[in-house]
């Protein structure tokens, strides 16, 4: 063997040995397909379109069998009023199930606050719901395996398995979870898992007259939500928690978190 051939062969052997077996496994098409299912739900909220009518909350409570009179809801709308001096007021009376029909702000124990219209710099509404995080703290802390993330995104609660310890309700940074007053288990927005799996929009998306809410499939490159997430100026809530929220917002303001 010539010196040159020996060096060539040695390089080939070393390079070949450097390829780990795990890298070859990644090339298995079955694994690649399993890791990339063709469904990944995403939610888009355009806060600039919201007028605070609360039709989404009404539809959600009706569709998902959440008691009308109880102060809990899977989705809600927040009102923000910022004065010219920089004071921020926010309220969400009854989760906005009846909309916002009065200029008085409901500050709970502090009573109804009246803000002089001439002092208002800006006022707006922000619809909120579960963000179906890619790193959901609620699913992580569940001690019994009752809440979990589905392969296509939404986080669900197994009502027959939940023991009602409330750990997940505490862990959600967005306050999206609550204790269901009838079933006595943790409850949360499912992005209407039963509707989106039958080719329908969620109840809140369907009820919104102004198109402030949209749901779409991130794996579909032509989906309006995918396109908006790709090319619009979007934000997410509390990104510093590292929860990777999958509800994206257009028109967030610094007062909102």
């Amino acid at each position: 063997m010539e010196r040159r051939d020996f060096i060539k062969s040695a390089i080939v052997v070393v390079a070949g040995a450097a390829v780990p077996m795990s890298a070859l496994e990644l090339m298995n098409p079955r694994d690649v397909l399993a890791a990339n299912p063709n469904l990944k739900w995403a939610f888009l909220v355009d806060t600039t379109k919201c007028v605070g009518c609360g039709m989404c909350v009404k539809a959600c409570k009706t569709e998902n069998d959440i008691p009308w009179t109880a102060n809990v809801s899977r989705t809600w709308v927040e009102r923000y009023v910022v004065t010219k001096e920089g004071k921020v007021w926010a309220d969400c009376p009854k989760q906005a199930r009846d909309g916002f029909t009065s200029p008085l702000l409901d500050e709970n124990a502090a009573g109804k606050i009246s803000v002089d219209p001439n002092d208002i710099a800006k006022g707006f509404f922000v619809p909120k719901l579960c963000n179906q995080c890619d790193n959901p703290p609620c699913a992580q802390v569940c001690p019994v395996g009752a809440t979990y993330k589905t392969p296509d995104g939404p986080i669900l609660v197994d009502r027959s398995w939940c023991i009602g310890c409330g750990y997940c309700i505490q862990s959600c940074p967005y306050g999206a979870r609550f204790f269901h007053p009838i079933y006595h288990v943790a409850d949360k927005c499912t992005w209407c898992y039963h509707r989106i799996h039958h080719g329908m929009k969620t109840a809140c998306v369907g009820a919104c007259p102004f198109g402030a809410r949209q749901i779409g499939n991130l794996k579909d490159p032509n989906d309006p939500v995918t396109l908006a997430v790709l090319d619009s100026r979007i934000g997410v809530l509390k990104s510093y928690f590292g929860t990777k929220p999958q509800a994206f917002y257009i028109g967030l303001s610094k007062e909102v978190d």
Binding site: A34, T48, K49, C50, V51, G52, C53, G54, M55, K58, A59, T62, E63, N64, V81, D98, G99, F100, T101, S102, P103, P117, I120, A121, K122, G123, F124, F125, N135, P136, A139, Q140, C142, G145, A146, T147, Y148, K149, T150, P151, L156, D158, S160, W161, T190, Y193, H194, R195, H197, H198, M200, K201, A203, G206, A207, P209, F210, G211
Partner: protein, 158 residues
């Protein structure tokens, strides 16, 4: 050695009992699923249970479902700015209508209209684009539908 074996038997029977109970009580599909141990530890069959949760609202695109039986109402609605409002927002969930319920509960209350039409003085908000009234001074106590046609709002007062 019976003083050792007696409590030991109790422990052994207890552990065997718990394991037997667990074997029958925990469903076969319970375990670590696709999303891994941290986020995907659950009973797999629960996903199907949520998919089969009963649907109430139809929210058909461009109200084509409602149009089949109520073409007149849908036509006048589509000709007005209220065309953006889905029928079921005011008429209630209608997935299996007219079978069940045969008659829908129409929400004709003033409070329903005020959700959008109570004026709120917020500069730059979408609410300002919607024509608004002051509910305290604008015919208090009267229902909106007594004067306004909710389908074709441009028709003028009745």
């Amino acid at each position: 050695m019976s003083h050792v074996w007696r409590p030991l038997w109790v422990v052994i029977i207890l552990v065997a009992g718990i394991l037997t109970f667990r074997h029958f009580y925990v469903p076969k599909s319970f375990g670590v699923q696709e999303q891994g141990y941290m986020y995907g530890f659950h009973r797999l069959s629960n996903e199907k249970e949520w998919i089969n949760f009963p649907i109430s609202y139809k929210f058909s695109k461009d109200d084509s479902y409602c149009q089949q039986c109520h073409p007149g109402h849908v036509k006048s609605l589509l000709a007005s700015p209220h065309a953006i409002i889905p029928c079921e927002d005011c008429h209630g969930p209608a997935l299996n209508h007219p079978d069940n319920p045969a008659k829908l509960q129409i929400d004709k209350r003033r409070a329903l209209c005020l959700r959008c039409h109570a004026n709120l003085p917020y500069p730059g908000a979408g609410r300002n684009v919607v024509p608004g009234i002051d509910p305290v001074t604008h015919n208090p106590g009267q229902e909106c539908v007594e004067c306004h046609n909710p389908h074709n709002v441009m028709e003028g007062l009745q």
